[in-house]
């Protein structure tokens, strides 16, 4: 394993200060065109508080989903996003109206970040008629045309080619929008990812490929599945610039996203962001996660938690008091409780829905 990879693997496992990250990010962005922008965005008070609230909403929502799953109210597979919140929130803060997102089955966080009603998301998890897909999609398959969220896909890697098609449509229509295709470290070994990279660069499509490297694809670590573990360089043979980003620090995510989106919007083609992150829970609700140590998880939680990082900064800067933050938490909890309430009381879809929405 090369020195750089080692460094990267340590990145999330060692405590880092924000200033230290700058130099590292520079060395990690080989191939990234104009890299003059800082590795860490300077957040205003409003940005910090916005990020805090958004991430907390995802966290509380997912905790509640886990609870409902345990109660048998959510069926099938349910993949929680806990630990990875900074990735989607940072990207959401960087995007413009009209930019699209598409991801895999670990999609609840993306939908909340895309401003979808938590009630609709939760009710889809419980398979009720008020769910975003009328209860017919389930946890892994949710969409919102209105909010430019294109799913929610259960086939590992499919969203990469589909997201490339979203980028294609932007270029075709010359609408200035950028598509963000999120996928995992495991998905990054799928053949269609490279088919997509090739076409996207060949045709200069505005697509940001966001690899959410949470270190595991189900029970298999990146090291056990991938011949090269610096996933940001997976576009190198196509000439696609890529950077590794501290995906636990929402400011780093925003800074990198700004660069990536600007690159795409200015017609230079696709861009790869490898978000180095971590999921605290098992792959899905039914995964006891025996393939990693409790220490590993604990270390990430205590030293790198994306929400705690913001919380500490806001308090240190005196931008909010403990009470202020508690109030936010209370707000968020109420929102989530309301969504859970709705998701339990909303009726199941009418049986006539069985045969609707098959063809237009």
């Amino acid at each position: 394993m090369g020195k750089r990879q080692l460094e990267m693997r340590e990145m999330a496992a060692t405590k880092r200060t924000s200033s230290g990250a700058g130099a590292k990010a520079d060395s990690r962005s080989r191939g990234a065109g104009d890299n003059s922008a800082p590795a860490i965005a300077d957040f205003s008070k409003e940005q910090e508080l916005h990020a805090y609230r958004e991430m907390l909403l995802i966290r509380r929502f997912e905790e509640k989903a886990g609870q409902l799953y345990g109660m048998g109210l959510i069926g099938g597979f349910c993949h929680l996003y806990i630990g990875q919140e900074a990735v989607v929130v940072g990207m959401q803060m960087a995007k413009k109206d009209g930019d699209q997102m598409i991801t895999g089955y670990r999609d609840h966080g993306h939908m909340l970040a895309m401003d979808l009603d938590p009630k609709g998301v939760m009710a889809e998890l419980t398979g009720r008629r008020g769910g975003l897909s009328k209860g017919k999609g389930g946890s892994m398959h949710m969409f919102s045309k209105e909010k430019h969220f294109y799913g929610g896909h259960g086939i590992v890697g499919a969203q990469v080619a589909l997201g490339t098609g979203l980028g294609f449509s932007n270029k075709y229509r010359e609408n200035g929008n950028v598509a963000m295709a999120f996928f995992g470290d495991g998905a990054s070994n799928q053949g269609q990812v490279y088919e997509s990279f090739n076409m996207a660069q060949l045709w200069k499509l505005p697509v940001v490929y966001v690899i959410e490297n949470n270190k595991y694809g189900m029970g298999t670590s990146v090291e056990r599945s991938s011949a090269t573990t610096d996933l940001s360089q997976r576009g190198a043979s196509f000439g696609i610039p890529g950077e590794q980003v501290d995906g636990m620090d929402v400011r780093a995510v925003l800074a990198a996203s700004d660069r990536a989106l600007e690159h795409c919007r200015s017609g230079k083609g696709p861009y790869i962001l490898e978000m180095v992150t971590y999921r605290y829970r098992g792959h899905s609700m039914s995964d006891p996660a025996k393939y990693r140590s409790k220490d590993e998880v604990q270390k990430m939680r205590t030293e790198h938690d994306p929400i705690e990082q913001v919380r500490k900064r806001v308090l240190d800067a005196n931008w909010a008091t403990e009470e202020d933050l508690k109030a936010i938490d209370k707000d968020v909890r109420a929102l989530v409780a309301e969504s859970a309430e709705f998701a339990q009381n909303d009726p199941e879809p009418d049986v006539s829905e069985l045969y609707t929405d098959i063809l237009l």
Partner: protein, 461 residues
Amino acid sequence: MPIDILMPALSPTMEEGKLAKWLKAEGDTVTAGDVIAEIETDKATMEVEAVDEGVLGKILVAEGTEGVKVNEKIAILLAEGEDASAADAAASAPAAKAEAPAPAAPAASAAAPVAAAPVASEPAEDPEVPAGTPMKASTVREALRDAMAEEMRRDGDVFVMGEEVAEYQGAYKITQGLLDEFGAKRVIDTPITEHGFAGLGVGAAMAGLKPIVEFMTFNFAMQAIDHIINSAAKTLYMSGGQMGAPIVFRGPNGAAARVGAQHSQDYASWYAHIPGLKVVQPWSAADAKGLLKAAIRDPNPVIFLENEILYGQSFEIPDVEDFVLPIGKAKIERTGSDVTLVSWGIGMTYTMKAADELAAMGISAEVINLRTIRPLDIDTVLASVRKTGRVVTVEEAYPMCSVSSEIAYQVQEKAFDYLDAPILRVTGKDVPMPYAANLEKLALPNVGEVIDAVKAVTYTA
């Protein structure tokens, strides 16, 4: 010994071509590798190289001659010192038969024809084409191209992508001229990356564009079938009706000729299995044109299964501004009273010939051209069955879990009391497509098998 130069076959499905130009004259010396002539097929102009050395003794087919059959003698090559009289003698000898011997005809069809007066089995009018509509000749290839061009003129969101569709003008020349008219933005050469570009197309369709994705053949779409089924067919349902994929996947499907097992499969029943897809399998040029236009306008994913052997065939099609056929509607090609023959796509070629022969034998066959496989127009089939009481289906695909199986099931379910005989199916054989000419012929259905099946269900053996 003079050497015969024969009309070469330049593609697996070529049967004849035009001798466009001679590049050597009588009396010229030719060495192996020299280009001696140019030949035009419906797909391309190709150069013919000499394989032997000698003097071009006699040209037997003048340049500009159309419809020169493969293996016809086109010139005589003389060895050093031979004179022209040898060429004359050679010219009158029959051409060497390069084709493998045909398999023996099935015993039953070789039996003495049933003594009966010819009966009525009339070509039927297409209710979609009003009487008096002007008609013109068109190949299936031209019909497909025209359909795409017309729809692209009509709607700027329609674009076509696939391997070799633009600059090369299509591997089978279906997209001929489209690049010129619509430019590289809308006629897009893709890398060889079926899974990727199928997914890209579906993504673009989810965002509201209307892609036509050409597969060089549907055999290669197996690499893309995940996106066709999981992404294109299911999204409308999974999104509770919010977004679907208005996309057409099209290309040649089924057996061409002598291309072996991996290039010869008919996928109709695979796609027909899937809710959320429409599956169209045209036979004639009119089917091709009217249905492809409908497919492009359809807001759902449509699988459009063409056939390479049909591309060059010519049919009468309505010569009207905007000829669109309804998807999901079968066409009665011939009316008859003794038996219902149900077929689609290239299966129709056997079926129509069989119906002719049957008429001469005194059996009146009604021929239904399904045109669309999903949704299946079972009502048209049932109406016919209620009249004839007998059904034979004809297709080139494998028998197991075939479209024929489904038709047989639905007919027995919905018209059991009208049946006077078991439903029979004539299909491709249950084997990977063999390469050898004789085995390939055996693996495909033939007219004799259709006639035998009809005799069996009409108890006229």
